[in-house]
């Protein structure tokens, strides 16, 4: 067992873990932070996407011990819980308004991957969004409304007056 200290969504956490424990299992099973999902065992689906030290990563590809000393941000830390809808991140609002989710299982990963994408490229084209989300699979939406949601959130995050996006 190895001790890790990881700051998760602003709270410092400290646990003894097996060296082989995946970060996603640390979040879900050790911390009970089940907002981040697991959809595969081959790092293809992106359901587990989080940010580690500001970079978007698939948390099933990282061991908890590798994240020792890191800051991890998940979908659960995006919104201010006491504010309700008013506290939602622009991406959360956009996924809601543009119907960018159906079952919602891919959504935490999609939102975190989209956040990374917009931080790297504040004004992505439709193609850049599609290519940028290549590592995140959704089986429900056919992606069109996800692309719309990301465009709409990016516009809001840039401070553009909210435009009607048509993709």
């Amino acid at each position: 067992m190895t001790k890790v200290e990881i700051t998760v969504d602003g709270t410092s956490t400290e646990h003894e873990v097996e060296p082989r424990l995946l970060l996603v299992h640390y979040l879900r099973d050790v911390l009970g932070r089940t907002g981040t999902n697991v959809g595969c065992d081959t790092s293809n689906c992106g359901a587990c996407t989080i940010h580690m030290d500001g970079q978007s990563v698939k948390s099933c590809t990282v061991l908890a011990v590798q994240a020792d000393g890191s800051t991890v941000d998940t979908v659960e830390g995006l919104a201010d819980p006491v504010e309700g809808e008013a506290g939602w991140h622009p991406l959360q609002r956009a996924f809601h308004e543009e119907h960018g989710l159906q079952c919602g299982y891919c959504t935490p990963g999609m939102i975190m991957a989209s956040k990374g994408l917009i931080e790297d490229n504040p004004n992505p084209s439709e193609k850049e969004i599609r290519d940028g989300l290549e590592g995140n699979l959704c089986r429900c939406t056919g992606y069109q409304n996800i692309v719309k949601a990301v465009q709409s959130a990016a516009a809001e995050m840039r401070g553009d007056t909210k435009v009607e996006v048509e993709v």
Binding site: N37, G39, L137, Q144
Partner: protein, 797 residues
């Protein structure tokens, strides 16, 4: 189309943003795998690495010595726990052959992934580790992987306890089929293949079961589309009294038919909770699920269509080989026979013969996958019509138009004997052509062909209908299905004037909470925000037939409407009593009853709810309750239709296919929530296009699944998927009060043939008449090479 969310008393027909979303976008979810119960143990299965073998010994003793391991059982250890094998609820013929399907195999394994033992440990890592220490000895048996070989003389058996690899032959003949072909001016004959697919809901399957605590009942949480069916079937399989089992489908992350089943792991966890008296949990890994969760499609179609001189259709012959896999799961044999009603599609004809052979192979069982039988049929007929048009030298639309049912001919009883209530194929087609710029693209195609452009343009058409809204109970009975097709809803009016709607449907992404709120809000006159919809827990929604077959709105939404109408009928009585008026003199609008001509003399549904709760003053001939129950049995299926057009660019030098434009004009009757409907169509299109271009479950000759993980089975991403242009025409259904038709599967059903017709159309000048799915660069390249060598069928024959 952009979301609107303006408050209004009228909710049906406008986009309401989903009530479901808040917890899903903030990570406050309720997935089965999230559950942590006190004392919970973790389950892992030992699965056969062989497609077919005798199991000569299973030894769990070394596994029991591993850290954290609490118990381990072989199939033989558990054999006495099953009151019955896993159920197949659809015995399509009286003499259907159905192998006994124990959740854990005892002496023979029949596909890679068939379970042979189970390990229970304190953590999931420990359980997974201990699996490696279970020693199993297998004696390999020949694997049956190909359907035609399976029914050839001398084939080894997929199940050595049976005498045949054929489960059933199901036949339906309508009209004089021999006459239709004998006198034909032209006959087109083709073989098409619908490849095997893996549904891949992004949430893996997971089951938690806890033993009785304060109530004498087991509680099972499962990633299921069908909690009600599961409860009944598990009671029968495990010998647990039905009243002592509660099934909860919490948040469920997609299903597409793959969670419409009664799985070995569900039965197993109930038995383990009973044996160990501890809560137990199992969650599949994706690769495990690719073996252990049902696959879809896998059908070989031999089709012939006969025409008159004037190109009207005389008759259609359909002969199918349908791969069941190793066992019959819940509705495995019923899936292909739905084609008996669908191969004729929107076309008029004098005769139809349909024969389906269900074949066992040593592969993962197949079962419903989005569309279930109708995508296969639609693919067959829409490909065949294109091939016939080519042979007859007519425009593919011209041949369709000549033969389809005209809008003035509805209601129309088809050759298969079912009545299409309404439709307008002309209107949907006209709109699709306009949106697509059909004539413009055809002109460009002519130019590109003339210039010898290595990248050729193809245009694919799919004019489809489907039968959904499963289903009128008497029809299901006539098809030997084990249950009815009704749906249940109840409405509870709360003293504060708010309402709870309880539905027997079990959504997993479809937005029922939102849509049912819209229906109930308009019907009750209770604000949308004041309605809560409850579902997916047999202790709360005690009665239901669940969610599959695009049935939820057309049957379940209908039940909600009827239940609301019953509340209002009772409320009217109370209103008349309180206002001292005759019931007939009352008007009801937007939640207010008022006396005709004296609008000030009024009361509201909220006031009436409180008055009935207080029960100080109510009509003598009724109970003090507005609550209602409704169980509706649909009088007919639902027949959405539409015209989809696809333009593909096909690189004749590399075989690469790119979708340039995709137009879908769907007619699903009246719409409750346009945004949700669009989402359903988008998702459906993506799955149908994925079948056409990317996905295929591949087995080798030994029965190993070569596409055993998401690394090898290609589920498309946003980068692969084209943009879709959508529109709707609206021909209301006449068989339910909402005028709605099903939409969950329409996109999938329509899109696969649209894409392949476009690919073949692009290559037609090169002599290509078929391309095997998926139309990967290699399959396209092979079709081009075969055509240049004089073989034009793409390799199907």
């Amino acid at each position: 189309m952009t979301a609107i969310d303006t408050p209004s008393t009228k909710n049906v027909g406008i986009t309401r943003l989903r009530k479901e979303d808040a917890h899903l976008i903030t990570g406050q979810t309720n997935w089965t795998d999230n559950l942590q119960l006190t004392g919970m143990l973790h389950v892992a299965l030992v699965r056969s690495p062989m497609a077919h073998a005798k199991v000569t010994s299973v030894d769990v003793s070394a596994a029991l010595d591993q850290p954290g391991v609490v118990a381990a059982f072989t199939g033989a250890d558990l054999a006495d726990n099953w009151a019955a094998g896993l159920p197949c609820a659809w015995p399509v013929t009286p003499d259907m052959v159905s192998p006994t399907h124990l959740p854990i195999a005892t002496d023979e394994v029949r596909y890679v992934g068939d379970a042979v033992a189970v390990v229970v440990a304190q953590s999931k890592y420990q359980a997974a580790d201990a699996v490696e220490f279970v020693e199993v000895e297998y004696e390999p048996l020949p694997a049956v992987v190909n359907m035609e070989a399976a029914i050839a003389d001398g084939s080894p058996l997929a199940d050595t306890t049976l005498e045949t690899n054929k489960s059933f032959t199901w036949q339906k003949i309508d009209g004089e089929i021999d006459d239709a072909f004998d006198g034909a001016a032209h006959i087109t004959t083709r073989r098409f293949v619908n490849q095997r697919l893996i549904p891949t809901a992004i949430e893996p399957r997971s089951v938690v079961c806890s033993p009785p605590r304060e109530h004498a009942e087991y509680t099972m949480w499962s990633t299921t589309q069908v909690p009600h069916i599961l409860r009944l079937m598990l009671a029968l399989t495990c010998g647990v009294p039905e009243q002592e089992l509660r099934v909860i489908a919490p948040d469920v992350g997609g299903g597409f038919g793959s969670k419409l089943n009664v799985y070995a792991e569900e039965a197993l966890l109930l038995v383990l909770a009973r044996k160990l008296r501890k809560p137990v949990k199992w969650t599949e890994t994706r690769s495990e699920g690719y073996q252990a969760t049902c696959h879809g499609r896998d059908q070989v179609q031999d089709l012939s269509i006969a025409f008159n001189e004037d190109h009207t259709i005389r008759g259609l012959k359909v002969e199918l080989l349908a791969d069941m896999g190793a066992y019959l799961q819940l509705v495995t044999p019923g899936v292909p026979i739905l084609g008996a009603f669908m191969f004729n599609s929107i076309y008029k004809m004098d005769a139809l013969s349909f024969t389906c052979h269900g074949i066992f192979t040593n592969k993962t069982p197949t079962d419903a996958y989005r569309g279930a039988g109708r995508p296969e049929a639609t693919y067959g007929i829409e490909r065949l019509i294109d091939e016939a048009a080519n042979e007859l030298g007519v425009e593919p639309f011209e041949l369709r138009e000549k033969n389809w049912i005209k809008h003035e001919e509805f209601p129309y009883t088809t050759i298969a004997g079912i009545e299409y209530d309404s439709g307008n194929y002309e209107a949907a087609t006209a709109r699709a052509k306009e949106l697509f710029d059909y004539d413009g693209l055809r002109a460009e195609q002519v130019e590109r062909r003339a210039s010898g452009d290595p990248v050729q343009l193809g245009i694919g058409i799919s004019t489809f209908t489907e039968m959904c809204g499963l289903a009128p109970s008497r029809v299901l009975g006539s098809l030997s299905y084990g249950a009815g097709g009704w749906e249940h809803a109840s409405v509870r009016m709360l003293p504060s004037g708010k309402a709870e709607v309880v539905t027997g449907t079990s959504p997993h992404g479809q937005g029922h909470v939102t849509s049912w709120s819209q229906i109930a809000s308009d019907a009750l006159g209770v604000p949308y925000e004041d309605i809560e919809v409850r579902h997916g827990d047999t202790a709360i929604a005690h009665k239901g037939m669940d969610t599959y077959g695009s049935r939820s709105l057309v049957v379940g939404g209908y039940a909600v409407q009827v239940a609301c109408d019953k509340v209002i009928a009772k409320a009217r009585k109370v209103a008349a009593h309180l206002l001292e008026a005759a019931e007939d003199d009352l008007e009801f609008d937007g939640g207010t009853f008022s006396v005709k001509g004296s609008p000030d003399v009024s009361t509201t549904i909220q006031d009436i709810s409180l008055a009935v709760f207080a029960a100080h003053d109510y009509p003598e001939d009724m109970e003090p309750s507005l609550d209602s129950d409704a169980t509706v049995d649909p009088e007919n299926f639902s027949y959405p239709h539409g015209t989809h057009l696809c333009a593909t660019e096909v690189d004749t030098e590399t075989g690469e296919v790119t979708i340039r434009k995709y137009v879908a004009v769907d007619d699903i009757g009246k719409v409750i929530n346009p945004q949700i409907v669009e989402g359903q169509i988008h998702g459906g299109l993506a799955q149908g296009i994925a079948q056409a271009l990317w996905e295929e479950a591949v087995y080798d000759e030994q029965g190993n699944l070569k596409t055993g993980s998401l690394l090898d089975y290609y589920v498309p991403s946003a980068a692969d998927m084209p943009h879709f242009d959508l529109d709707r025409t609206e021909t209301p259904a006449t068989t339910n009060p909402l005028g709605v038709k099903g939409v969950g599967e329409a996109g999938t059903i329509a899109s696969t043939p649209a894409v392949i017709n476009a690919v073949v159309d692009a290559l037609r000048p090169m002599g290509v008449n078929d391309v095997l799915m998926p139309a990967s660069p290699s399959n396209v390249w092979n079709a081009i090479q075969a055509a240049s060598a004089g073989n034009t069928d793409g390799g199907a024959a």
